[in-house]
């Protein structure tokens, strides 16, 4: 396999240390992922002051929860409302907010999503099972620079008095990209 050969070569030439490669893989496979973003959204739902900080300085609000660094240096939060649904894409490559969502799924990086997210977002949403009435405007955000976007989905009803940990179970990765909605209380897998 070509990649394996490349790894052997770069280790032989002293350019990479195998333990560092393992650390990189483990970081994104086990520690950095959409649970981080779900904690941000749950806090925003539960704490109006935190939501306000997310609106005005998302990078620092997200850093308050310890989520910082690569591919999250300049964060903007996009709040879904009764009349606005936000959806994020990178038509030119695979830009994605790593500290809060981890590495992007294959479909996010692939030509079908990248081509149609901007030209037919409602058709794309239909494919994800999200059917929006015409009265809800769809706002698409193409990540063409180093600004990274996190969608704050609407808080589902029937969650009054829930703790942030409980609320976070309703927040899916796709709801933070904008290709999904937050789960309703009865939809959470045990």
């Amino acid at each position: 396999m070509r990649v394996k050969a490349l790894e052997s070569l770069l280790v032989e030439k002293g350019y990479v240390e195998p333990a560092a490669l393992d650390e990189l893989i483990e970081t994104y496979e086990t520690r950095v992922g959409p649970r981080n973003g779900a904690a941000v959204v749950a806090k925003a739902w539960a704490d109006a002051a935190y939501m306000q900080k997310l609106r005005t300085d998302a990078t620092s609000a997200i850093a308050d929860l310890g989520f910082i660094g690569r591919q999250g240096e300049h964060m903007v939060a996009l709040e879904n409302t009764d009349d606005t649904h936000n959806m994020v894409v990178c038509t030119l490559c695979s830009c994605y907010p790593w500290p809060v969502l981890g590495l992007p799924p294959v479909w996010y990086k692939s030509p079908p999503y990248r081509s149609r997210a901007v030209s037919d977002p409602r058709g794309v949403l239909d494919e994800f099972g999200v059917h929006l009435p015409e009265s809800v405007g769809v706002k698409v955000w193409d990540s063409t620079a180093e600004v990274r976007y996190l969608v704050i989905p609407q808080r589902p009803g029937g969650t009054d008095g829930w703790t942030e940990d409980q609320l976070a179970t309703l927040v899916t990765r796709n709801s933070m990209i904008g290709t999904g909605l937050a789960l309703k209380p009865g939809q959470v897998k045990p």
Binding site: A5, A20, L92, T144
Partner: protein
């Protein structure tokens, strides 16, 4: 460049087909491709814009039909060849043929990884020049077709929009990708009505946003 990467509005690419409960990596080689790309990037011999350009320079037919970690691997090989870190025969055989380039430091260690990732690579830069536009300014994206790197996608060129927000000075990818300096410019988020981009059949309520550098824009 008008390459395979500039996908906004392309037709005929099929269903999105999201995978349920998708794992972070699908195979060991994907883990390795990811980690090698990251670890070699840490030397700072190339920047993020040059990396993107190395990937988009892949032939469009191959780009559109390759998995993303294949694209990353191809890009990494191109960057390492350009930087004189490896020679083609070595890549082919997976064995050293020429001495390594002296990079004036050893490889990044496992203990250094968290710190490097945490610091990230902020792209904002101080800028003395005043911004030309302000929120609600009407602007038009310029028509241009550079053969080098740019972050102005084709589907926005020539179209009229409105400034939504201003992000201050940011590194300019069109020069930074080619070793011609960071040349920071004001960066703006610009909103375009779906109908301005896609015609009358687009929903009246919908809009697209992109983050665009000042030289991509003129007053409308």
């Amino acid at each position: 460049m008008n390459g395979g990467q500039d996908l906004g509005g392309v037709h005929g690419l099929g269903p999105i087909d999201p995978e349920a409960d998708e794992p972070v990596f699908h195979a060991e080689w994907e883990r390795t491709a990811f980690a090698l790309t990251m670890a070699m990037g840490f030397y700072g011999l190339w920047n993020i814009d040059k990396s993107r350009h190395a990937r988009e320079a892949i032939h469009p037919a191959k780009y559109m039909t390759s998995s993303y970690y294949h694209i990353w691997t191809d890009g990494l090989i191109r960057l390492m060849l350009d930087a004189g870190l490896v020679v083609p025969g070595e890549v082919h055989l997976g064995r050293q043929e020429v001495a390594p380039r002296d990079l004036h430091r050893g490889p990044v260690t496992a203990g250094e990884v968290a710190g490097i990732l945490g610091r990230g690579g902020p792209a904002d830069r101080p800028l003395d020049a005043k911004p030309k536009f302000r929120p609600s300014s009407k602007v038009r994206a310029v028509r241009m077709n550079p053969t080098g790197h740019t972050r102005l996608p084709r589907y926005l060129r020539g179209c009229e929009g409105e400034i939504v927000s201003h992000h201050g000075g940011h590194v300019f990818p069109d020069t930074n990708a080619h070793g011609k300096g960071e040349n920071p410019q004001h960066l703006y988020t610009v909103r375009f009505a779906a109908r301005e981009l896609w015609g009358d059949k687009a929903p009246a309520n919908d809009c697209m946003h992109a983050d665009l550098w000042e030289s991509y824009l003129v007053q409308a």
